[in-house]
Symmetry: C2
Subunit: 135 residues, 2 copies
DNA sequence: TGAAATCCCTACCAATTCAGTAGGGTAATA
DNA sequence: TATTACCCTACTGAATTGGTAGGGATTTCA
């Protein structure tokens, strides 16, 4: 299942992508318009900022804003930051590879075979979608 | 993440698919060969049987066996039985559809748009793979 | 017929994750 | 300098995961 964190993060990103001139938008505004718990959203925006997807400005008139243009923001990046690995098992993960401690022979493992295909097809979707495509 | 339940279930199914003549195989044997906790595997095989994927035989010489031929067992079925819905959000699920309580307009929702594509690509993989393809 | 093998079923449990909530601190701006 | 708004830590209730424990119930074979 997709976590609420990812869901809310995506909604916030698309919200910010629609803003004219990359003006800072307050957390409260996004939370209200997208029906998200403000405090929870706050923590999500923070991780998006820490990972270089958003910028922030403090004080009056401050808020969060998109750093790049929507068409430059790939979904692979967004998903990895918010949801974590794209692969459903570590043994087929590109960025978070880990060997299964059971499973003596990875090449003959049926789970491995299937999940490799699932990962590739998901990657294909994420690579072919930027924030701009979701508006 | 793929649950251990699904992982072990898939491994057990492929194990049984390799057996000559669909002879019953004991839980203990599968558990040992695939490095799975026996009691946990027991519960998994039970749900596979309840959902019409496996048959069982009690008493001495009993065990579990595949009901259909491997090439007749689609991965869509297996995944739905073991892992649940294939979609990552209920609002794009074919078999378990639910409207989001937030999200006023499904058609304009960016999460919906993206997850629809992810679901379709996953379905594509599962539909094009049977148990026989994983051996 | 009886004992052993094997599946069947229920209940429980520790650890982790999820989806927040609470409360205050700090920096920037007007 | 007051206010706005981001920043950070800690806690928490509920649900899920990945099992374990223990005892049936049923079938088969000797």
């Amino acid at each position: 299942m997709l976590s609420k964190k990812t869901k809310y993060g995506l909604k916030a990103l698309t919200y910010l992508a629609k803003v004219e001139g990359r003006e800072p938008v307050q957390i409260a505004e996004i939370a209200k318009c997208e029906n998200i718990s403000q405090k929870f959203l706050e923590s999500i925006l923070l991780t998006l900022r820490r990972n270089g997807l958003l910028g922030s400005k403090k004080g009056k008139g401050g808020g969060y804003y998109l750093i790049k243009e929507p068409h430059e923001v790939q979904m692979t990046t967004v998903m990895r930051v918010l949801e974590g690995p794209i692969a459903m098992v570590p043994c087929v993960s590109l960025n978070f590879y880990e060997k299964c401690e059971d499973c003596p022979n990875e090449g003959e493992c049926s789970v491995h075979k299937l999940m490799l295909q699932v990962r590739d097809s998901a990657l294909d979707v994420y690579r072919n979608n930027t924030l701009a495509d979701l508006l």
